[in-house]
């Protein structure tokens, strides 16, 4: 800045052939102005950096430092100020995401504890009531307890930062049989027929996660079974791009108004409220797990008639990248 003025003035001076002493005075004034200019610049920069250093060392929440001091008046300072603002903002947003997810988890645990105390209370009552209670009833409550422990485990695993799954070629039929064996007693107790069409396909997935997913779906079918002649049926469809596993039951179904919302967190909906058996987390976790694994999950239903849960396994990588819901 000062240099420009100096050059301009020299130019003008030479132009106007002003007498020697005036030229001297002007030259000296400009040098002085230049020096003052530099000094002033240094002083105001130092003032800014000193203020910043002071505030940084005196506050605990250092990311708030920009609130404590005023913006720098010099150009490089502005660049720096802007950069600092953007870094802080993005970090704060990331931290906020974690805060929200911790809150969510706390809420989930509260709800979970409430649910898990139910089979525990049932068992206590049964033991108190003593003889005459068949062991099948005890086992039913124990299975409920086990269900809940699995659920919390998979809730944690479904978090978006968790990636501890292993994709392998899995024989669908084997996983379905495992699920059938696990729920055999519950199915028989509730007089639900288990049907499985011959399924020859293998899919790329995590076997343990899939077992849990199928378990949740079967559990729902049991909860919301029809009054008579209940059954659940596993069958597959296949085309060039995908294998679709269908889990069909002839239960009470889902009202049309609720169908869009079943995969949402803590969704209980009409059925849950009417039948009072739901934490609403089962399908939410199922959806999250499927999202992580790259499978699509859909639900079709007609109230009073049936529910069909469909899991779509892509045969190649690209299929589910487009149009993932």
């Amino acid at each position: 800045m000062a240099a420009c003025w100096l050059i301009l003035m020299s130019g003008l001076l030479m132009l106007f052939q002003v007498n020697r002493s005036l030229r001297m005075i002007l030259a000296i004034s400009f040098c002085t102005m230049l020096v003052i200019g530099f000094l002033w610049d240094i002083i105001r920069k130092k003032r800014f950096y000193d203020e910043m250093e002071y505030n940084l060392s005196h506050i605990d929440q250092k990311y708030l430092v920009q609130e404590m001091i005023s913006a720098p008046p010099f150009y490089e300072g502005t660049l720096f100020w802007q950069a600092m603002y953007e870094c802080n903002k993005s970090m704060c947003e990331a931290v906020n995401d974690y805060k929200v997810s911790v809150e969510d988890f706390k809420n989930y645990v509260e709800m979970w504890v409430h649910e898990v105390k139910l089979p525990i209370s049932s068992l206590e009552l049964m033991l108190h009531n003593g003889e005459g209670i068949s062991s099948a009833k005890y086992r039913e409550q124990l299975r409920r307890l086990d269900q809940y422990t699995d659920q919390v485990l998979y809730y944690v695993r479904s978090g978006h930062t968790e990636n501890d799954f292993l994709l392998q070629k899995i024989d669908l039929q084997k996983v379905i049989i495992k699920t059938a064996l696990k729920y055999r007693e519950d199915l028989l107790l509730h007089q639900i027929d288990f049907k499985m069409e011959h399924i020859g396909q293998t899919v790329m997935t995590d076997g343990k996660w899939l077992e849990f997913i199928l378990g949740q779906i079967v559990w729902n079918s049991i909860k919301y079974q029809s009054e008579t002649d209940s059954y659940i049926c596993f069958f597959t469809e296949e085309d060039e791009q995908k294998v679709i596993l269908n889990i069909y039951d002839n239960g009470i179904g889902i009202p049309e108004s609720d169908q869009k919302h079943v995969f949402k967190k803590s969704f209980t909906g009409e059925n849950g409220r009417k039948y009072a058996k739901s934490t609403g987390m089962g399908l939410y976790i199922v959806k999250k797990l499927c999202d992580n694994l790259g499978h699509r999950v859909e639900i079709q239903s007609e109230q009073g008639k049936y529910t069909n849960v469909r899991i779509l396994f892509a045969k190649n990588d690209h299929f589910f990248r487009e149009g993932t819901s």
Binding site: D146, D164, F165, A180, L181, D193
Partner: protein, 222 residues
């Protein structure tokens, strides 16, 4: 009598497992010395080891690797860790099977029986016999000199389960588990019906009292 070694740090589970296995007709030993587990396992001369991955101070998978280097003893990993990674690792280190807690006891016994059968030299491929009848499960018949009894898939599964534990009581639970494992998802009534049909067929062929009912416990093949 097959001997099974239990490697598990929870005492309550150890005790219950021991009872379960002994009731099922095995001899069960519990590993006491976790410091020298490898040596104790090799010395035990067990026919099968139930090994828990999560014993503190003991790396189950490393232990498995070291045992595998020395001996072919069948090992079933038993654990509360339910990840696919653990299972794949265990199997790659040489486990014969992998089962997660809490396991259905009937399924555990079923898996033990399967592993023992696989690794047992003597029971291989021989045609099973029952009172002079040859058991041909592929064709679904029991054939003898003058008789041939044709059984359905379910009846054959039930008959073979009873035959493998001939003289011992087999619970309805065990029969059901076996049937479901073979993709026959029948219910309680259907089981009862199948058993009476089986009895009927055996009776017609000259074995009227082959299957005895033990009230509240199960069935027994004489």
């Amino acid at each position: 009598m097959k001997k099974i070694l239990i490697v598990e740090d929870d005492r309550a589970i150890c005790e219950e497992l021991k009872i379960l296995l002994e009731t099922a007709g095995y001899t069960a030993d519990v590993l006491e010395d976790f410091e020298h587990s490898e040596a104790e396992i090799l010395d035990s001369k067990a026919d099968l080891v139930l090994l828990d991955i999560n014993i503190p101070g003991l790396n189950g998978e490393m232990l498995l690797q070291r045992i595998r280097k020395k001996v072919e003893i069948p090992v079933i990993m038993v654990t509360s860790r339910t990840s696919e990674v653990d299972e794949v690792l265990s199997m790659s280190y040489g486990a014969d099977d992998y089962i997660t807690k809490p396991y259905n006891p009937t399924i555990l016994l079923l898996r033990i029986a399967v592993v023992l059968k696989r690794t047992d030299q003597t029971l291989r491929e021989e045609e099973e016999q029952y009172c002079g009848l040859c058991v041909n499960s592929a064709r679904g018949v029991l054939s003898g000199e003058n008789t041939e009894i044709v059984l359905t898939k379910n009846e054959m599964i039930i008959f073979q389960t009873l035959l493998h534990k001939r003289g011992q009581i087999v619970s309805r639970d065990e029969l059901m588990t076996n049937l479901w494992d073979n993709h026959e998802f029948i219910n309680d009534n259907a089981l009862t019906v199948n058993i009476s049909r089986l009895r009927g067929k055996l009776a017609k062929a000259g074995f009227p009292d082959a299957i005895e009912t033990k009230k509240k416990q199960g069935y027994l093949l004489l």
